[in-house]
């Protein structure tokens, strides 16, 4: 009996001991996963690795390289100022050759093989769509600046945040300007040509819809594959339609070819706008034969220009010129988009004192307003920046200047467009 009773306390004590040890272990494990206290600064820490896939070759290479400059400029500035949460930032940039399949492979590798702490977005709507799906699969936040096509935001993803204005709205200011003209001056016909690209086509379709609602008749509408190299027949059709307004959904090579064809055929529309290309500064003017040929050409602007008075813009421009040379007018808006992505990341990370992606996503969805060189940033549920709006810019006397809306304009719009030189 004694023996039996004597053994009971030992068994009891053993059970209690096991229970306590189990609790301790569970507590320790739980503490590791749920603790919200910042990491002690005394621990040795390496740099924060940020993975990015960029189009350093292929169709988007010009934009991709400008984006790389923007990201690098931001990282250098952060590191010069003490880093992010006291740690240096290291960019892990790989090239996707403008390929929708390579960009998927790249983000898969950056996350699962390179184990990068954070990722930032690639260039273009076309590549952001598949890339954001990969990021979402692994619970990574993807802040980006060049994936603003409507189809990006209809994927139902919770991890995607675009700091730039939604693409479809970029040309709204142009249509508002055209429709605001007195009836006697207002154009009555328009021709449209766009790449079948999710960045360009929604803009052109929006412009067409708004202008038609305003009474401007569509006399030509063409969609062409992005791999087109011979743009002559597309230009011929627009010229034959004799439209007063020409709206093109282009990048630099196609708008250059259209302008060349227009000059050859002595066709000068009253207003000409291109979704992209004229925003490439001196690269654009050189390609079309000098700044005089650019006179009067419109381009929508994603909310940035070199002299805009926004958060840290003057510093960014100064740093850019110190790092890459050239003139402020020659800075691509892609640089500002990349830089703005980094600025939003810094502010969000500093607010949560963490680089945990789940917390980062929650913070970006919190309704907080962030500041960037492109202006204020606030995300809706789909990740669109609801505070951003596009302005209308125009080439005037060798410079790209803001012309509409009036409260953002430095110069009045030039209309009708002067003849080709």
């Amino acid at each position: 009996m004694i023996g039996r009773y004597a053994s009971r306390p030992r068994t009891f004590m053993s059970t209690i001991g096991v229970f306590i040890v189990t609790l301790f272990v569970l507590s320790a494990c739980g503490g590791g996963t749920t603790s919200t206290s910042p990491t002690p600064t005394s621990q040795p820490q390496g740099p924060i690795k940020i993975g990015i896939s960029l189009s350093l070759s292929g169709d988007f290479s010009a934009d991709g390289k400008a984006f790389q400059q923007g990201y690098q400029l931001w990282a250098d500035t952060v590191n010069k100022n003490g880093g992010l949460l006291g740690r240096q930032v290291k960019l892990d940039i790989v090239s996707d050759a403008s390929s929708t399949t390579q960009v998927v492979t790249n983000y898969q590798k950056l996350i699962t093989v390179n184990h990068d702490d954070l990722i930032l977005g690639p260039f273009s709507t076309l590549l952001t769509k598949p890339a954001s799906v990969v990021a979402n699969r692994y619970g990574y936040a993807m802040i980006e600046g060049a994936g603003g096509g409507p189809s990006v935001f209809t994927q139902g993803l919770h991890n995607l945040f675009d700091v730039s204005p939604p693409v479809a709205n970029l040309v709204v200011s142009f249509t508002q300007y055209i429709l605001s003209l007195p009836a006697s001056q207002r154009p009555t016909t328009a021709a449209y040509a766009t790449q079948n690209d999710p960045f360009t086509q929604p803009q052109v379709d929006t412009a067409r819809q708004l202008l038609e609602q305003g009474g401007v008749k569509t006399v030509s509408y063409q969609v062409y594959p992005s791999e087109t190299t011979d743009f002559t027949p597309i230009a011929q059709k627009m010229i034959a339609a004799k439209a007063q307004v020409v709206v093109t959904g282009t990048l630099l090579p196609d708008i250059t070819a259209f302008i060349q064809a227009f000059k050859q055929q002595h066709y000068n529309p009253q207003a000409l706008i291109a979704t992209a290309g004229p925003d490439q500064g001196s690269q654009f003017t050189k390609a079309i034969g000098g700044a005089p040929a650019a006179e009067g050409i419109f381009v929508p602007n994603g909310g940035w220009y070199p002299t805009i008075n926004t958060f840290q813009n003057a510093q960014m421009v100064q740093n850019y010129l110190a790092a890459y040379g050239g003139t402020a007018d020659g800075i691509s808006s892609d640089v500002a988009e990349g830089y703005a992505v980094g600025q939003v990341l810094v502010q969000a990370v500093n607010k949560i004192h963490s680089i945990d992606n789940a917390k980062l996503i929650a913070e970006l969805h919190s309704g907080d307003t962030f500041q960037s060189v492109q202006g204020d940033v606030k995300f809706n549920d789909q990740g669109e920046n609801i505070l951003a709006s596009g302005y209308l810019f125009q080439w005037q006397k060798g410079s790209l200047v803001s012309v509409y809306p009036a409260n953002q304009a430095t110069n009045p719009p030039e209309f009708p467009k002067p003849n080709w030189p």
Binding site: Y224, E227, D230, P233
Partner: protein
């Protein structure tokens, strides 16, 4: 109707320039049994050479060909000696990989020197035009077409009126038999590759005068050039010429009559139909060359 006539004329003129670029590709395949995937990159290199001469030395684009074509000829011979000749087996297969490697090297070097910025060649005749049949025809398309006619004519004379041409055509027909009758096949191959690359220089100048380009523009070009030589028949110069003109006319007319989206599709449907009827292409040899 006027739009269709205009599309046919510009299609023919642009087709001449594509024939220039594709002729080098098909010539090299005919003689050497290799597919030069690097031809697109070489065309872009030719365009950049013209750009350098125009920007730095203010040399006219057509006059500049007197410098760029010999330079590219020598480069072509060097590429053949260093990269192609060492391939001793499965030449057709391995040549695709090797010439793709050459294309990547060229693209990398061009990116390093010129960055990814797009550039375009400039001359008075690029934007100038003259009226014809109710529309304006650009001088550059006419000059580009004339250049193609002259160079392809010279190539024809070289092939059919010279001793080297006989050696080259003998090599095209049967490489082994040509060696047996004493033709230095390796020398013929090196010179042929050089000619193909020199033609790329001329094609590159005409391409760069009508389209803004950067080092990566080669990718869209090479797929079209390959389609042209398959359509015309691998190794056939006349086939490449007919296919180039046909491709551009079909695409341009489809584009203005229907939609640019269908322009390439219509051409490729026609390509498939032709290949079903004539697997060797329009003017290609049945079963390829006999080795």
């Amino acid at each position: 109707m006027g739009l269709i006539v205009e599309a046919i004329i510009t299609g023919l003129l642009t087709g001449g320039v594509y024939a220039l670029m594709a002729s080098g590709l098909t010539l090299v395949f005919g003689v050497m049994d290799i597919i030069n995937i690097g031809q697109g990159a070489l065309v872009i290199l030719g365009a950049y050479l013209s750009y350098v001469l125009e920007q730095n030395l203010h040399i006219d684009l057509f006059v500049g060909l007197l410098i760029t074509m010999p330079f590219m000829f020598v480069l072509g011979v060097l590429i053949e000696l260093l990269f192609i000749r060492p391939i001793r087996r499965d030449r057709t297969m391995f040549s695709i990989l090797v010439t793709f490697g050459v294309a990547l090297i060229i693209e990398g070097v061009l990116n390093l020197i010129f960055s990814a910025d797009y550039v375009q060649l400039h001359a008075w005749y690029i934007t100038a035009s003259f009226p014809v049949a109710g529309f304006y025809l650009s001088y550059i398309y006419v000059f580009g077409f004339l250049l193609a006619v002259v160079l392809l004519g010279v190539l024809y004379l070289l092939l059919y009126r010279t001793k080297f041409g006989h050696s080259l055509r003998a090599t095209m027909q049967n490489r082994t038999a040509a060696e047996l009758v004493g033709i230095d096949v390796e020398r013929v191959s090196a010179i042929t590759f050089g000619i193909g690359v020199a033609l790329a220089a001329a094609g590159g100048m005409a391409f760069g005068a009508t389209t803004s380009f950067n080092a990566n523009s080669a990718y869209d070009l090479i797929s079209r050039l390959l389609a042209i030589i398959i359509f015309g028949g691998m190794g056939s110069l006349q086939g490449a010429l007919i296919a180039s003109l046909g491709m551009l006319v079909i695409e341009d007319v489809t584009s203005v009559v229907w939609s640019p989206v269908w322009a390439s599709t219509v051409f490729f449907i026609l390509l498939v139909v032709i290949l079903l009827i004539r697997p060797q292409g329009l003017l290609g040899q049945v079963g390829g060359r006999k080795q």
